[in-house]
């Protein structure tokens, strides 16, 4: 076979693979959106869900999803950033660092259902909180932290060495160099990573089943006291998120419009994750452009 022919065959194979991937993605989107979008209405988005009757909405689930996400990110981002800074700047190459890295990687590839079980044990039973938003957020933190550490470490490492040297050469201390040079330069990549991680958290169900629970108490959106039991802001209440809702109506829903609710919720979820990803790209490149003035 001539090298030209084999080149053509190779090109053909790769194009075919690309086409398969793209058509899978388009098919999936098409299926979810065609089935789901027609279920989405103002009513659907603003009414609480119902247990028995048809026509329930997903208002509380949407709120819960975002709220759990925010709490998770509040815990994850500082921890992950700290871990990333440590791994990139302070950890001396050696056995201990290698061990930490292996731990982070193992944690990153943990099945989320196992993390859910761990969460049940730690944040639900051991603490005696029961199903809570905080418990769910902590379980998601376990799930999310390795990604955040990894993203931060890579972002800091990818800052050109010479600007770090320039700063140290001016007599700036290591910590000040990290704070004023490395972190701002790494910020766009860290932000992109954080938003992508947020998308992952947003769509996560398994880790939340046993930690944040499958129900939501009756919420009063005019009650902003985070310690009141009917307040949406209370972090010690159970909260069913959108992804969990899809799973629960599908497996144990008693309402007659299970299919419609599930499809509508799926569409909302997918659109949200899509928006997260687009935002990540958009904001990341915008900030990067602004900071580096690269054309």
């Amino acid at each position: 076979m001539s090298s030209k022919t084999s080149d053509r065959i190779a090109t053909g194979i790769f194009v075919t693979i690309a086409v398969i991937i793209i058509s899978l993605l388009i098919g999936l989107f098409y299926f979810i959106l065609v089935n789901g979008v027609k279920q989405i209405s103002i009513d659907f988005l603003t009414k609480p869900s119902s247990n028995l009757l048809a026509g329930g909405g997903i208002r509380d689930q949407i709120f819960n999803s975002f709220y759990v996400l925010i709490i998770t990110m509040i815990i994850t981002v500082p921890l992950g950033l700290g871990g990333g800074i440590y791994m990139a700047e302070y950890a001396k190459p050696g056995k201990v660092t290698d061990f930490i890295r292996v731990c982070v990687e193992v944690l990153a590839s943990f099945p989320s259902i196992v993390i859910g079980m761990f969460g049940l044990l730690m944040f639900v039973t051991l603490t005696g909180w029961g199903y809570t938003i905080l418990g769910g957020a902590l379980a998601l933190t376990v799930f999310n932290l390795p990604v955040m550490v990894r993203v931060s470490e890579d972002a800091i490492r990818s800052v050109p060495r010479d600007i770090k040297e320039a700063s140290l050469g001016l007599g700036i201390t290591h910590w000040h160099t990290i704070k004023t040079i490395l972190l701002p330069s790494a910020f766009p990549s860290i932000l992109t990573g954080a938003i992508l991680a947020a998308g992952r958290v947003f769509g996560e169900a398994a880790a939340l089943l046993f930690t944040a629970g499958l129900s939501t108490p009756r919420l009063d959106y005019s009650d902003w006291n985070p310690f009141s039991s009917t307040s949406p802001l209370n972090i010690f209440r159970p909260a069913e998120t959108l992804a969990v809702h899809i799973w629960s109506v599908n497996t144990q829903g008693l309402i007659p419009d299970v299919k419609e609710v599930a499809n509508g919720s799926a569409a909302v979820l997918v659109i949200s994750v899509l928006i997260f990803n687009l935002l990540a790209r958009g904001i990341g490149s915008l900030v990067h452009k602004k900071m580096t003035a690269s054309k």
């Binding site: 010479d162 600007i163 040297e165 050469g169 007599g171 900071m291």
Partner: protein, 257 residues
């Protein structure tokens, strides 16, 4: 080798040795550096000249596995002493690197960065420092209308001059330059050489260069390094006209290196 009086010396390096792991990179260096002069260091790649200049402000410390012995006296204090204040040393001994490496910030912030962190907070003071530093490197006229523009938008030569201005802004006594023009075009190179001649009125300058014409043009003293040894250190005019060591002669006449 001419003998300097103590007060004449910015640096006095005595019996200095440096190892990268097992590799003996600098061997028994004795090297006085006189104040307010330009000292050029020449030599073939791998001769240890960059390593040497990086030890003068201890940037070498960031490389793992480096061992040093001997003395490097700066203003009568041995900087190899453990108790030395690195921040203080580097404020006094500024460094310019091979490639211009501005921070991804505005022109103003790049230069104000050092003074700001070292405690100058008032805007007036900072402005004064920025203007003065930019004038010292003859960049002021080119950038005065766009101090808030990103530094990375400048040309390569301008970026390198900006980095020199940034180093000057912390008011050092010594300026170390590690092949500062190796990545620049001839015109930018010329500008930087002219600037060096002006700067030596106020600063002690040590410059590592691959370019022998450059050493001949800008320096008062020239040192020739070979395989980790300081072969010869003398007046630049003498090194380039009648070097006393035949290896120096071989190098500057282009027989090796």
């Amino acid at each position: 080798m001419s003998v300097f009086t103590i007060t004449d010396k910015a640096f006095d390096v005595k019996d200095f040795n440096l190892w990268y792991g097992d590799h003996h990179a600098l061997k028994n260096i004795n090297f006085p550096i006189r104040k307010k002069e330009v000292t050029a260091i020449i030599g073939p790649s791998g001769c240890g000249k960059s390593t040497f200049i990086k030890t003068l402000n201890l940037m070498i410390n960031s490389i793992p596995g480096v061992k040093m012995s001997g003395e490097i006296n700066y203003n009568g204090q041995n900087i190899l002493n453990e108790k030395l204040d690195l921040v203080d040393l580097r404020k006094n001994v500024g460094m310019v690197f091979q490639k211009g490496n501005p921070f991804p910030q505005s022109i103003f912030d790049n230069i104000a960065y050092g003074p700001r962190i070292h405690g100058k907070k008032r805007k007036r003071d900072l402005e004064e420092i920025v203007i003065k530093s930019l004038m010292d490197v003859a960049l002021w006229d080119e950038v005065k209308d766009r101090l808030n523009a990103p530094a990375l938008g400048l040309s390569g030569g301008q970026q390198q001059r900006l980095c020199i201005a940034r180093a000057l802004a912390t008011k050092p006594n010594v300026l170390l330059m590690d092949e500062p023009t190796s990545a620049l075009d001839p015109i930018s190179t010329l500008k930087i050489e002219e600037m060096i001649l002006e700067l030596k009125e106020k600063y002690t300058i040590v410059i590592v260069t691959h370019n022998m014409q450059q050493a001949a043009r800008v320096s008062d003293k020239t040192a020739f390094f070979l395989m980790g040894e300081l072969i010869e250190l003398d007046e630049t005019s003498k090194i380039f006209s009648q070097p006393s060591d035949e290896r120096t002669e071989g190098y500057i006449t282009g027989r090796f290196g």
